[in-house]
């Protein structure tokens, strides 16, 4: 039986990380458009998936 330890973040840490990603990708709007259109390379897709996770957790 696998053992998973839930990862709990403060809201501030999650918002900080989301901000870091958005700065890293540059044009956030264009990045999200490319993500929705499945135009991202492997490393960009990792960031995009993390961004979507943070969006959901932050209620955005």
């Amino acid at each position: 039986m696998a053992s998973v330890i839930p990862e709990i973040f403060s809201r501030q840490a999650a918002e900080r990380r989301r901000h870091e990603i958005l700065v890293q990708v540059g044009d956030a709007h264009r990045f999200r458009e490319r993500g929705e259109a499945y135009e991202l390379n492997a490393d960009e897709l990792v960031l995009y998936d993390e961004l979507l996770t943070l969006d959901y957790l932050l209620g955005g």
Binding site: V4, I5, P6, L45, T53, Y56
Partner: protein, 242 residues
């Protein structure tokens, strides 16, 4: 640990065990939340997707994500959105070959559970010619001299009891292709769908009465078998079959 945290943890552990028992290698799934714990995201740990290999060489990668919250009774873990995406190659990028999705609150009249096929047939063919030979269909495909086609693939859609109905297909054709339809098509199709799913619910209860009893007792019912009647068995094969 809150109720949702505990359920999310168990869910992540179950998913990990499922994948490991199927393909041997898989890092533990992650269960992430904020401190207020009202939402959880459960997903695979590998950032580029779980690698799916043939004789050790990566053929496909799998990305799995569940956006979770508590249900309407604030008691059980509910999935608000789930995606299972299959990509060609060792790292997920660009378009997947296909993706299974579920949305609890979809925007627009789309099926809450659905499949999207992205790939041009050549992308499927490219993966299929490299398929392994450890299963009957894989082996048959490897022996066949012809070019494999997408139409050979069987995509699961719910097994015996949860399969799509004719109403689902008709509504999809009307919504997606604008097929000529009556003014009240939606009412008629929803009525037919409800009848079908009610019948299937009864069939599911007959397949697995013990789970039905457990759910009803949790809701406050007291279930008793009539005297002289032998308790029904579970139709394991119906529950397990793809």
């Amino acid at each position: 640990m809150s109720g949702l945290e505990e359920q999310a943890q168990r869910f992540a552990e179950d998913l990990t065990d499922t994948v490991r028992q199927a393909i041997d290698e898989c890092d533990p799934f992650r269960a992430q939340s904020l401190a207020d714990g009202s939402r959880f995201v459960v997903e695979q740990q590998e950032p580029h997707g779980v690698p799916l290999r043939v004789k050790g060489a990566p053929l496909l990668s799998l990305k799995i994500k569940f956006d979770c919250c508590l249900d309407g009774q604030d008691k059980y873990l509910a999935v608000e959105k789930s995606t299972i995406k299959v990509y060609a190659g060792s790292k997920a990028s660009g378009e997947p070959l296909f993706r299974y999705e579920y949305e609890r609150y979809p925007v627009g009249n789309i099926p809450v559970a659905h499949i999207h096929f992205h790939a041009h047939r050549d992308a499927f063919t490219a993966a299929m010619v490299r398929a392994g030979k450890t299963t009957t269909r894989g082996s048959r495909r490897a022996k066949n001299n012809g070019v494999p086609t997408m139409s050979e693939l069987h995509f699961p859609v719910g097994g015996h009891r949860f399969r799509p109905s004719l109403e689902d297909v008709l509504e999809m054709l009307i919504e997606e292709f604008g097929i000529d339809h009556s003014d009240d098509f939606r009412v008629a199709l929803r009525r037919g769908r409800k009848d079908w799913r009610s019948k299937q619910t009864k069939a599911v209860v007959r397949d697995d009465p013990h789970s039905a009893i457990e759910a009803l007792e949790a809701m406050g019912y007291a279930i008793q078998l009539k005297s002289g009647i032998t308790g029904p068995s579970t139709h394991i094969d119906r529950l397990e079959q793809l």
